[in-house]
Amino acid sequence: MYKLMLVLLAVTALSGCTTTEIDEFRQGTTSLNAGESIVILGRRQNNNYETEGNFVECVANVVGGGNDGINVVPEQEFLDAMFPFFEPRTAPMRTTHLKQLMEIDQAKERLAQYGIEYIVWLDGLTQRSQQAGTISCTIGPGGGGCFGFGTWQDDSNFEAEVWDLDTLESVGSISTDAVGQSYMPALVVPIPLIARVEANACSGLGNQLKQFIDGKG
């Protein structure tokens, strides 16, 4: 029993091996009044990757959660409501494109209907590297099991750029870099000790973004 508790303690300690770095760059003042909202969109123009919808949703949940939650319009609802202006081919890439978009009456009216004050563009991905070790599993008449050891490093690198729809300018950006090492020893059964890198990146970025929009960060 004592040994089992030691193992569980070690598992808990080792599974939290993630370091997260958050940087903020502010270019203008921000604030949100009652009834106003923001939308968080993932960048999907890159050929090699696209910002995962799950991560965008995670950040939106963090920003919208808690007693100080901000009203966040769901990404897909916004994309459908503003169709065809925010598709990968047509989405504004710079604030100059945003100015051109706001000259289209239908687009401007729809944004006003939703009370959108800020558009947040999320860009980035999680990459896996430094994979090492092997795990072998066998099964036979007498039973089965896995033996070995595996390890890998995950690096979540994301940037959030905030556009102000009043000034039609960028008011700042927040970047997050979360790195974590995961382990998978296998002693008959694999014991996953997974570093929650992307979850930590989401939580850190979301909370910092909430403070930024509120004008506190």
Partner: protein
């Protein structure tokens, strides 16, 4: 075992939002060729040479055009055939006839491309003619969609995701690009349907 020998059929099923654009003051007759209505793409297994996947997108393509065209034009008249054009034109006051044709379809699967995405690329030949059949414009449009490969995701789900993105890409291009096709723009201006 036997189920693994036949090709897997994937029926593209998506819903498309109505574009947020100002309608052109036109009555458009639309004819969908048989090849578009029943379009199906077959992916061949490189090793066995047998059919591996059949992607049926005809119904979804019609749904796409039936959403986009009524948002783009004031009136849309569906034509069962181009033979009935004269009758339909006199009854409905058709200004022009639009015929979309799918010219090419390509599918990229992660297991073949070694990329972690499903990709679809489509090429269309769009034709616009006057109600009497005289040529106005004939132009090519391409559409591209990709969907990231996720853990435990089925091929069906990945292909669906890429197909819907590609269809939305086509809809966006058609909606925003229709009046910028040079011959179309010239015809619209000559008939005072647009001023710029």
């Amino acid at each position: 075992m036997l189920a693994g020998c036949s090709a897997t059929t994937i029926v593209v099923d998506g819903s498309y939002p109505s574009p947020l654009v100002r309608k052109l003051p036109l009555t458009i007759g639309v004819y969908y060729p048989e090849e578009l209505r029943n379009f199906a793409y077959t992916e061949i297994d490189d090793n066995s040479g047998k059919d591996q996947y059949i992607v049926q997108s005809g119904t979804s393509q019609l749904e796409l055009f039936n959403t986009v065209l009524p948002a783009l034009f004031e009136n849309v008249v569906m034509l069962d055939s181009l033979d009935s054009l004269n009758t339909a034109s006199s009854e409905n006051g058709i200004d022009a006839v639009f015929v979309p044709e799918i010219a090419e379809f390509q599918l990229g699967l992660p297991q073949k491309t070694k990329l972690k995405v499903y990709e679809i690329w489509m090429k269309y030949n769009m034709k616009l003619s006057k109600a009497n059949g005289d040529y106005i414009a004939d132009w090519v449009m391409t559409a591209y969609g990709k969907s990231p490969q996720e853990n435990l995701q089925s091929v069906d789900s990945g292909v669906q995701g890429a197909a819907v993105v590609a269809m939305r890409d086509l809809a966006a291009s058609l909606t925003l690009g229709f009046t910028t096709v040079p011959e179309v723009n010239e015809w619209l201006k000559a008939n005072n349907y647009v001023t710029e």
